[in-house]
Symmetry: C2
Subunit: 362 residues, 2 copies
């Protein structure tokens, strides 16, 4: 494991996506959303996706030049066609348009379809919350890997949900898959040769297992929170797939291997309450929660807090890149003819005083 400065990974990603055909400003933005996933501690959604997206561009699933377009709109709504470009551009466009409209109409809703994998959903909702908006995103994933409550077999996608709420500083941030864990967390355990907690997945025969390889071998993830989490998994399927016209986990899996249907809502608090009062009141409530007594061995955390803490640390210390990933990134950069200077940090020539070596987090 080496530690690489976020900025170096962003420059590398920008070069990679540009080499793959994206315009430079888009390439930079896509890289930024991905590195932000690493910064906030979600390595499962981080630069490992440089590799995945490069594959999908080469296979023709992601059109690197496509830009999302607003197909139709009203002062409170819009439908966005992602045109099978990078999902990040589509999701960002959906949230931007929702925020612009909510700025004038107090609330707005936007759907997006023909959308590739959007990455970490919290990026878009947190972006809106930092601008003072309550933001919600309901997504389905058109790639079944999760069963339903009481069910067997792969039925629906990991159908992530994110809700961000402004609090003045770092936003409150709910951002999760409606499966017990994100698909990527199992992939990551596999990559790192680790076992997973029993109860995350079932193997292809429906048995409990702690072997992450059992998922790719025909197993499935479980929804979180029993029947209550399952309800949300379905809400995201109905809003993400049915309302937007995107592929359901139950449809034949034609086209891109991972599609997202996106339903975004933005609300401007100002009509309801003075925004400063709202943020203060949110902070007061969250402070009260933070101060409450913890069970032995537990710490009360506010949703988003682990992310913002990790972000501050990793901005200082760099982002840990496991050896296998490091080598794959170098191979991809070489294949795409990316300038060697951009690979320096990965090649074991650290800059800005970052240490190379074993990482306390690994």
């Amino acid at each position: 494991v080496i530690r690489v400065p976020a900025e170096d990974l962003m420059r590398l990603g920008t070069a990679l996506f540009t080499a793959l055909g994206a315009a430079e400003d888009k390439a930079r933005f896509i890289a930024e959303t991905i590195v932000e996933a690493n910064l906030t501690g979600h390595d499962s959604h981080g630069v490992i996706y440089y590799l995945t997206y490069a594959e999908r561009v080469k296979e023709g699933y992601i059109d690197p030049r496509a830009e999302p377009m607003v197909e139709r709109e009203t002062p409170t709504t819009a439908v966005i066609n992602g045109c099978w470009g990078f999902g990040q551009l589509t999701a960002m466009k959906a949230m931007e348009v929702a925020v612009e409209k909510a700025e004038r109409s107090h609330i707005a809703a936007v759907t997006a379809y023909r959308c590739n994998h959007v990455g970490r959903v919290g990026y878009y909702t947190a972006w809106a919350a930092r601008r003072g908006f309550i933001a919600m995103m309901f997504l389905n994933v058109g790639h079944p890997i999760v069963t339903v409550y009481g069910g067997r077999g792969r039925v629906l996608g990991t159908n992530p949900l994110s809700i961000a709420i402004p609090t003045g500083g770092d936003p409150f941030l709910l951002d999760y898959a409606t499966s017990i864990v994100a698909h990527g967390k199992v992939k990551q355990a596999l990559l790192e040769g680790e076992r997973i907690p029993r109860g995350w997945i079932r193997d292809r025969e429906g048995r409990e297992t702690d072997d992450p390889a059992a998922l790719e071998a025909g197993g499935w993830l479980l929804p979180f929170g029993g029947h209550k989490g399952y309800c949300l998994q379905l809400v995201n399927e109905l809003l993400g797939a049915a309302l937007t016209g995107s592929r359901s986990g139950l449809d034949p899996e034609e086209g891109p291997p991972s599609t997202n249907g996106v339903f975004a809502i933005a609300v401007k608090p100002e009509f309801f309450i003075h925004p400063k009062v709202f943020e203060e009141r949110c902070r007061m409530i969250l402070d009260g929660v933070r101060r409450c007594e913890a069970e032995a061995g537990m710490r009360i955390m506010i949703p988003g807090e682990p992310e913002w803490e990790t972000r501050r640390r990793r901005l200082r210390e760099g982002i840990p890149i496991p050896e296998a990933l490091r080598r794959s990134l170098i191979a991809l950069a070489e294949e795409l003819g990316v300038d060697e200077g951009l690979m320096e940090a990965l090649m074991g020539k650290p800059k800005r005083g970052l240490s190379v070596g074993m990482d306390e987090e690994s």
Copy 2:
């Protein structure tokens, strides 16, 4: 346990609330929402509340004559002051106004404050979904009884969430407390002398227990679904209390014993997709989920399905009323001077061929 026709319980409720001071049409509506909770199987939110609300009227917490008023509004938003009347009137007004506005603006959001206990939240969202709207309600409860993830002690209310989605017939309905179970389910177990599953509550010392009495004796409920359910518990606190200006579970408990802060969103699907296509697609997805293979001993249920099944059965067979509740209802009716004819069904003179005796559900 006797079985009483829903209509008889509604007439009784109408008479009770009228005797308590409500206008007859309001009294009838309040009774209907309450009996609807029984019909859909949620006895914890059913006619047991005739007793609770009568107490609260007598204690001055519920103003039986107050009507909710729209304090300010735009084409997409409204703030409703419940004026401390029956919470049912306020919640219904919030959803009605949201639907009216969404009819013209595609989406609308409404907050409500000074709102007493609203009862079963799914009543309002299902009402909107039956009219073709996607409806969401985020509520907090200004009465702490639930701890937070990893916490000890009572911190927040049961903060219910409901999302209803039209499917042509009976709507898809997510409707639950963000605690593992509703407060009322524990009260009901206590009333019926039953143990509760370990893991629902902790006693006042923070120990696991299956004794429902431990909750009222200083114990607390747990949030559902680990840290993921906890995130929703907080979302409902921030939207239900901070955005609406209602009492938080963390505030001093002054005023009514149970207040709700209400945030309602209604979305008209038509702009995004033809409503018939949307409903068909929702049914197709839900049918696919229903058909998937079940684990041994499990049945795949669609959210709302248990409610609608129970409703059809209870409309035929009547609503089971435990003996203690029956006696309390008779005492209340006598105290309020309600016409004896309205009590007949409770007095063991069943009409319309309903059986009196042991109930298979009890």
